[in-house]
Amino acid sequence: MAADETLEITSGIDPTVERPLGVLTRPSGSTGWRSWLFSVDHKRIGIMYGAAALFFLVVGGCEALLIRLQLARPGGAVLTADQYNQVFTMHGVTMIFLVAMPLGAAFANYLVPLQIGARDVAFPRLNAFSFWCFLFGALFINSSWFLGGAADGGWFAYAPNTGVNFSPSHGLDFFAIGLQITGIASLVSAINLIVTVINLRAPGMTWFKMPVFTWMLFVVQVLLLFAIPVFTVALFLLMFDRLFDANFFNVEAGADPLLWEHLFWIFGHPEVYILILPAFGVISEVIPTFSRKPIFGYPFMVFSGIAIGFMGWGVWAHHMFASGIGPISVAAFSVSTMFIAVPTGVKILNWVATMWGGRLRFTTPMLYAVGVVSMFTVGGLSGVTHALAPADTQQTDTYYIVAHFHYVVFGGVIMGLFSGFYFWWPKAFGYMLSERRGKQGFWVMLLGFNLTFGPMHILGLQGMSRRIQTYSAGQGFDLWNMVSTIGSFFIAIAVAMFVINIYLSRKQSVHLPPVGPDPWDARSLEWMTASPTPEHNFDYVPIIEDLDDFWHRKWGEDEDGNIVRIATAEEVAQDGSRTDVHLPSPSYYPIMLSFGLPIIGYGLIFSLWLCVLGGAIVLGAIFGWIMEPADDPEAAHDHDDHGGDDATEAAALEEEVNA
């Protein structure tokens, strides 16, 4: 295929350009474990989010394989019913809260500051706090496996079924407390990124010159900002019920069993868009790059994203059509749910229109992006069938639902973010992932994905219930369950191929010339600096004149209206050689503060004395955080040339200027 040749031409290999890695490595400052643990650099935090999420992807994937092994044959005995409950619950919890959300956070952290031409986020220390808070919360939830059993109430944990009566192990306590801790992470991160996007856009970058990716991530942060507190309320009520005998879900005392469902799905539906919009953002960057065309209908892309975010608040009860919410509610939510398919359809149309007539290069990121457009559409269409309440009544709690949300979450979110991995890998690490192995991996994943989840449509319509531990032979479930299980191992192989690709590509990259700032001939600002991104992002903050400013610096029009190159990427890009940029200093306190939170969590479950210990750590860390002088040389350990300039300091000075 011609794609590889094109790739070679545009990868901008110029042997005279010095490999930027060596220039940037500060022998004492940028290496070693301490430089990661105490880092406040948004790029390192982004990479740590990504690494942690990939780790949990493997954990959640193993849980998925256990589920599929159990269901491969009728009467499976791999797991007991109790273990099965825990495994499918934790599979959902892990994949949604510990894989998809942090992967979105990984891309947001790494790319949003770069795409808006900023040197870091608005609050670097809070950013580090968000990551550690997420990681410790995630480990806290998973520690339940070793402390009496994991959560077993399904990922949406319907109370009162998740009360102590029906789930006496501590698993759901870990769920309720752990997700509050990761919720703090999401909320703080959301505030941070919202302020970053509002305040730190480079000069000239108006709202409608922001890349679509940044727009989508901005919408996601707004959704998180408003959705997380609702979930926090629900989790608090559940925690109070379970730990302190409150009556919120005590039906005997007159409680309404629908309270949890409503609160959960008020959060839960925006959550769906929190998961998918980062993937939409990724492919909105990938498809124009590899179609050599600007995104079709940029304003429509932006407004449909905003519309999805806004309408996502008015559709939650479509998860509850079978819960007895009454005909008026069902009708109203049914209509609103059908409406929300419109902006999503606009997006699909615009991606297809972007590709239409473009000079397509089917690189690995592009393959994954096309995979998203097609697979997500399948999931979206089955979603529309759920919007029809009478049909949904048949489908609820069957494998048809499982098929639907895996098509949108796996086919949309995971494939979209894999596209992002292949696309931005050279930017983050300075070497390309092998295209050949990448494409092989893509096809294995696409095959495995459809083999696994495609048959679930049939199983569901045949009436196989979701979450059943096993089934008896002769119900017509045998064949498709076996196909599905085989498919799931193809997915596992595809993920393994990705990991192997990382390892081999890294090893081989030593013998290859450096990738240069812009290996894909891309459009947005992050490609205008060296690869891997220097610690200070940009030597000089660019002044923005156009949407896709970087592209317009490279390409212009001749008098006949043909697109002609006016500069090479190397001429336009900055080489990252500047060393006198002031950056925020690393800090001990973010990790310390977040370390206290799970200890409080263990205390609530096991012994209140631990709460005292955890509380002391938290208070000490907050005290140290506040007292930490922004530009103290002690605080700037390892960074001899960084005076440090904390956001607080900057704001104080800014106030001075304004006054």
């Binding site: 900002l225 629908l258 608040w313 509610s329």
Partner: protein, 113 residues
């Protein structure tokens, strides 16, 4: 680099308009409104009947608005702040209104027995 100047200007305006004495006057107004609220409790003095809940809601919204607009400076500050806050507030009211509707509770009934 240029920074937007709206903020700075509105800030000056706020310094011109608000004095400590004005803050005290506003607090007095809030105190009076609270007095009226508490007064409604003593039904033997005056029975508001069906007007009670609307009157209380109007008083509540007024107090809320006065604190947000003057004490929190929203009236004089950047529109961004108002939008961020109003965004959360309006969304909360909308979402929880639908929440009650979905429970089949007519909004009015929440406030009655």
């Amino acid at each position: 680099m240029t920074t937007a100047t709206d903020h700075v200007e509105t800030h000056d305006e706020h310094d011109d308009h608000m004095t400590d004495w004005k803050y005290v006057q506003i607090a007095l107004l809030l105190g009076v409104l609270t007095g009226i609220e508490v007064f409604t409790y003593f039904e033997s003095v005056l029975d508001w009947g069906k007007a009670l809940v609307p009157v209380l809601l109007v008083l509540m919204v007024t107090k809320f608005y006065v604190v947000a607009a003057y004490f929190m400076h929203l009236k004089f500050d950047s529109r961004f702040f108002s939008r961020a806050f109003a965004g959360g507030l309006v969304l909360a009211m909308g979402v929880y209104a639908i929440f009650f509707a979905a429970f089949g509770v007519h909004f009015w009934e929440i406030f009655q027995d």
